[in-house]
Structures are given as C-alpha cells and as structure tokens.
C-alpha cells in the first residue's frame, strides 16, 4: 500500500513536473501569465496518443508532441506581439482554439493506449520492472531537462530571455528584440508542457480531451510551493525547486485522498494549499526583495 502511494505520487510529480518547468519559464522567467498550457498539455497528449495508436514509434510521437507544443507557444506569442493582445487573453484564445484542434488530432475525444507500445513499455525490454518504468524514465527526463534549461539560461540568449522578463525597457535599449524573446520563451514553455502531456498520456495509458482541466492551477501551485520550500537564490535551485513543488502538490492531493477527505472538498483543498503557500512569510519577504531589484 505505501509503496503504491509513494511510487504513484512520485510518478505523477515527475511527469507533471516537466509541465511545471514549462510554466516556470513563462510565469517567472518571462513574467507572462500564459494560460495556453491548459490547451497545450492535452495537445501533447493528443499528438502522442494518436500517433502511437496509429502504430508510430512512441519516441517519434513524443517528440512530435513537443514540436506541436512549441507551435502553440509561437501562436500565443504572435497574438501578443503582433496583434498586441494582452498576455492573459492571448493565452485564453490559444487554449480555446486548441480545444477543437485537439479533437481533430485525436479524431475522437478519448484514445486508449492500454495495450499499446509506449516509451515506458520499451523500458521493460531492458529488464526494468513495469511498476518502476515511469519513475525511472521520469526522473531521467526531468534531470536532462533541468540540465539543459540550466545551461540554456546561462547562455547569452538565455540571459536576454531572463532580462526580458525582468526589465523589458532596459533590454530593449540594449538592442534586443523583445518580441522574438517572448515568442521564443513561450515556444519553449509550451513545448515542455506538451512534452509533459505526451508523457502523462503514456503513463496513464489513455488520452482524454479533458486532460487540460486543472493543469494551469497545478502548474502555478507547484511553482509557488517550490519557490517557498526550496528558495530562489540560484537558477539551479529554482529549477529543482519547482519540480519538488510538483511532487509536494501531488503528495498533498494524495494525502488528502488517503485521509478520506470528502470527495467534494478536493478543489477547496487545492485552492487552500496555494493560498497558504502564497501567504507564507518567506515568500512575502522575497517579494519585497524582488521589488527592490536584484
């Protein structure tokens, strides 16, 4: 029972942790509250599930899902930079459009992958026990993504991206094209979110059009919890922190379920968790420091 609980929570924390890294990029690095993720998460699931169901290589399907997410991010970025639609609304527009697109990609509202070959089942050929495939591949993937993001955010381009979120005016005056930076950031962010969706569909063995429900709140909650618990003193710390935040978020939901909370109170718990994390004194002081400037 406990093994199930631990492994299950860990798996979900890792798989959704990839999405949280994406949300961190838009929400904190770019300072852009991007709601497209509620559409790009099921987009990744839809692309991967459809291709796998049609017999394509699961890895190919998963990386095409990542590409699809990047396109969704570019679309949101274009709406914002070219047509000057506010960040919030451009995300909502993409999310709304993706709903129909996801249905078109899937050709139905639910694709089962119960007996399909996925990136996880392939691991069993190498002798990994089936119950641990998601844990192992999930932690490896998260590790690789954190390493790549860490390296990227320390390149010149990465610095420009961070500066775009920190101080748009300053970076403009240095001759950086802010629009391009925003589009790039959103593309990266949504690519990760869709990648996470592709992982989630394969881990739970089905894709459903409703998979986007609760994604943005899970993403924001995990980022905030991670920042409060692990801190933001260095880039590496934050990247590891937000994935840890994802683990804590799933853990809280699991604990609540295991404690026999009334099924109807679950959403209330989720909201309370985020409010408490936001209200925590540690974060308040940090917000004050942020306002002074780094």
């Amino acid at each position: 029972m406990w093994l199930n609980f631990v492994v299950g929570t860990l798996d979900q924390g890792l798989v959704y942790g990839i999405m949280v890294l994406g949300v961190y990029l838009s929400f904190r690095v770019l300072d852009y509250a991007d709601l497209s993720v509620d559409g790009s998460f099921p987009l990744g699931a839809a692309i991967a599930a459809r291709l796998i169901f049609d017999g394509y290589n699961p890895w190919l399907a998963t990386f095409l899902a990542l590409g699809g997410g990047a396109l969704a991010g570019i679309f949101t970025g274009l709406l914002h930079t070219r047509i000057r639609i506010t960040p919030l609304l451009s995300g909502i527009l993409t999310m709304t459009a993706l709903y129909s697109i996801n249905l078109r990609i899937m050709g139905r509202s639910n694709i089962p992958l119960l007996r399909a070959e996925t990136i996880f089942t392939r691991l069993t050929e190498w002798g990994v026990p089936e119950s641990l495939t998601v844990t192992i591949l999930g932690s490896m993937t998260v590790g690789v993504i954190i390493a790549l993001l860490y390296l990227f955010l320390h390149t010149e381009l990465g610095f420009a991206l961070r500066a775009t979120g920190d101080n748009e005016q300053m970076i403009k005056s240095m001759g950086v094209n802010v629009s391009v930076m925003k589009i790039l950031g959103l593309a990266l962010s949504n690519a990760l979110v869709a990648f996470s969706g592709a992982y989630a569909a394969q881990a739970q063995r089905f894709a459903d059009i409703g998979m986007g429900i609760g994604i943005i709140i899970a993403g924001l909650a995990s980022v905030i919890i991670g920042e409060v618990l692990v801190g933001t003193s260095s880039i590496l710390r934050v990247l590891v922190g937000v994935v840890f935040g994802s683990l804590v978020y799933r853990l809280v939901i699991a604990v609540v379920l295991y404690m026999g909370l009334k099924p109807t109170d679950l959403k209330l718990m989720t909201a309370l968790l985020v409010i408490v994390a936001l209200a925590s004194p540690a974060l308040k002081t940090r917000l004050r420091l942020n306002n002074i400037g780094r």
Partner: protein
C-alpha cells in the same frame, strides 16, 4: 526557520481540513473489525465527476448490495472517491484503491474506468455509465471481456428516442441535436442519429456547445430552423438543460431528451436509460462476482434490460404538444 514554519503550516492545515472532512471511514473500519467473524468486503468506488446520473448509478449499485445483506460498517467497507473532473486525480485515486487492496472496484464513466483498468489487471472492476467499453479498450468484446473488467454500458437507445419525435410530432421534418463535440459518448450517439435519421424520415440539424455557458445561445440558434430538438446524454448539455427547456417552451418546440432525469427537469419525453436501474443491474453483477465466484473475464457487458418511456405532461403543455393517448397508456412514468 520561517520556511519550515510555512511547511508545517501547510501540512497542519491539510491535516486539519482533511480531519474535518473525514467521512469517518476509519471508525467504520474499527466497527467492522469488531464484527470480526468474516473480514468485510472492501469496495472501492472511483467516479469521474459529480453528476446526477452518475450519482444515481452509484446509489443504485449500493442499494442492491444493501438489499442482499451487505451492510456498510458491518460486512462492507465502501471507499468512495470522486476525481471532480481532474484526470490526474483520477489516476491518484486508482493507485490508492489498488494499494488498499480492495476486493472489487466500481468505476463510473469512461476516464475513471480507464484509470483503474491501467492500474490493475487483477482486481475485478465493474464499470457503469461507460458508453463504448470496446472502443475504450476496457474489454476485448462485449460478449467476452477477457479482462478483469465487466459491467454495464449506458449506450443510449438513440434510434428509439429519435423515433419518439415522430410519435409526438408526426409531421416533424427537421430535428435539432445539441451536443458537446468533445464528449466521446455524445459523438457515438450523434453518429447513430446520423445513421438512422434517413430511415426515420427526419433531417438532423447539428449544433455544438463546448461548455455549459454556451448551451443557451446554441439552443436559441435552432429557433425557426427545426420542428423538434433532441438532446442525447451529453454531460455538458444535460448540466445546462434548463437553458434548452427555456428555449423550447418559449418557442413551442418539442424537446426529446436522452434520459429520465432530463424529463423530470422539463424535457418532454424520453425512452431510455434509468441510471439508478443501470447501477442496480451493475450491483447484481457484483453479487455474482462476490457470491458465485464469477469472473469478469467471462461476464458479458450488459445493456439496460428494459427501457422506460417517461413523459412530462407539464412540459408538453408548455411546448404546445398534444400527447397521443397510446403513449400515455404505454408510459412507465408520467410527471404531471
């Protein structure tokens, strides 16, 4: 230090709220342990969301168990979880039920059934309110599942329902059909409607609503274009049925619906599934597993045995419809 306080605060809050909301399963476990002679049956229930039909199915299932001597707190432990539409949560629930080693799982609606089916291939799973168990890959065939899954499908008798339009309004030509394109369940029903429409001599006018907020507008768009409206068992549209009823009554358009509860809510009539009965039928199947040692692998998926004709007289008056006498005589249930 402050950070640690923060963590403690979060966790204590969680514990506190969870404690308040605890449905008292722990106490029940204790009493059942004391009863002691045989260990109680552990039943896990996973439901995808709150919805009147899904709730009715769950209640019907539990009724049958109660009528056959399974008393909660004595020889039955019920662990009921609801994912509130969140699929990640449904997976967490599925893992929990498997971890708790329940003897039997009742899974209500397709994503809930898929979540539990991918978590275990040993624990017997009874599904209900799943429209197409084969397409969802829960079973190999309806006749012989060959998996640890069996149960009941709520495949709606769409043909019979569309035919009802002609029974009430023989001269009807065009029938509007409102559904949410994202619901697999509705998609299947609309496909059937398209197939049978020609032989029934009606033409379908399809309109889609993607959320409950859109239903009113979508229903209004049908005014003047159709002679009747048909609403299948679409969760989104049924949740906002009041909007459709309003439009139908204001414009005298007969409204045929997909299930009994929708008639109670103001639909004109339906012939179809009663979710409480469907749940009861699923409960009967559970008894065969619990008492006769039947295996889900060999138990065919069942459809509702006897469809009911339900008519709402008040709705008929409001929609300007004359109810044919023979339908009144045939009706199983009449709302005055």
């Amino acid at each position: 230090m402050k950070k640690i306080l923060g963590v403690l605060l979060v966790l204590s809050l969680v514990v506190f709220v969870a404690g308040c909301g605890s449905s008292g399963t722990a106490e029940k476990n204790n009493t059942s342990q004391e009863a002691g002679s045989v260990s109680p049956v552990k039943l896990g229930i996973i439901q995808i969301a709150e919805h009147p039909s899904l709730d009715a199915a769950r209640e019907g299932f539990l009724e049958v168990l109660a009528e056959n001597g399974y008393e909660e707190g004595k020889n039955l432990v019920v662990e009921y979880h609801n994912a509130q539409g969140d699929i990640a949560t449904a997976n967490t629930i599925a893992q929990k039920l498997v971890g708790d080693q329940v003897d039997l799982v009742l899974a209500i609606a397709t994503p809930a059934a898929q979540a539990i089916a991918s978590a275990t291939d040993e624990i017997p799973i009874l599904i209900t309110a799943v429209t197409d168990p084969v397409a969802a890959e829960l079973v190999e065939t309806l006749e012989k599942p060959n998996t640890n899954v069996t149960g009941t499908t709520d495949m709606n008798p769409v043909k019979e329902q569309l035919a009802l339009v002609k029974e009430f309004v023989p001269e009807a030509q065009k029938v509007g059909i409102i559904y949410n394109t994202s619901e697999k369940n509705s998609e299947v029903q609309v496909n059937i409607a398209r197939e049978v429409a020609p032989e029934l001599g009606v033409e379908l006018v399809e309109v889609a609503a993607t959320s409950t907020n859109e239903v009113l507008q979508v229903a209004q768009s049908l005014v003047g274009k159709v002679d009747a409206i048909y609403v299948p068992t679409d969760n989104t549209v049924v949740s906002a049925l009041a909007s459709v009823v309003q439009v139908a009554e204001e414009n005298d358009i007969p409204l045929i619906v997909g299930e009994g509860d929708s008639v109670r809510q103001g639909g004109l009539a339906t012939i179809g599934i009663d979710y409480r009965k469907l749940g009861r039928q699923t409960g009967e199947m559970a008894l065969r597993i619990l008492e006769d040692g039947a295996k889900p692998q060999d138990m065919p998926i069942e459809a509702q045995k006897d469809y009911e004709l339900i008519i709402n007289k008040k709705a008929a008056a409001n929609m300007g419809v004359e109810i044919p006498q023979r339908l009144l005589e045939k009706a199983d249930k009449i709302f005055e």
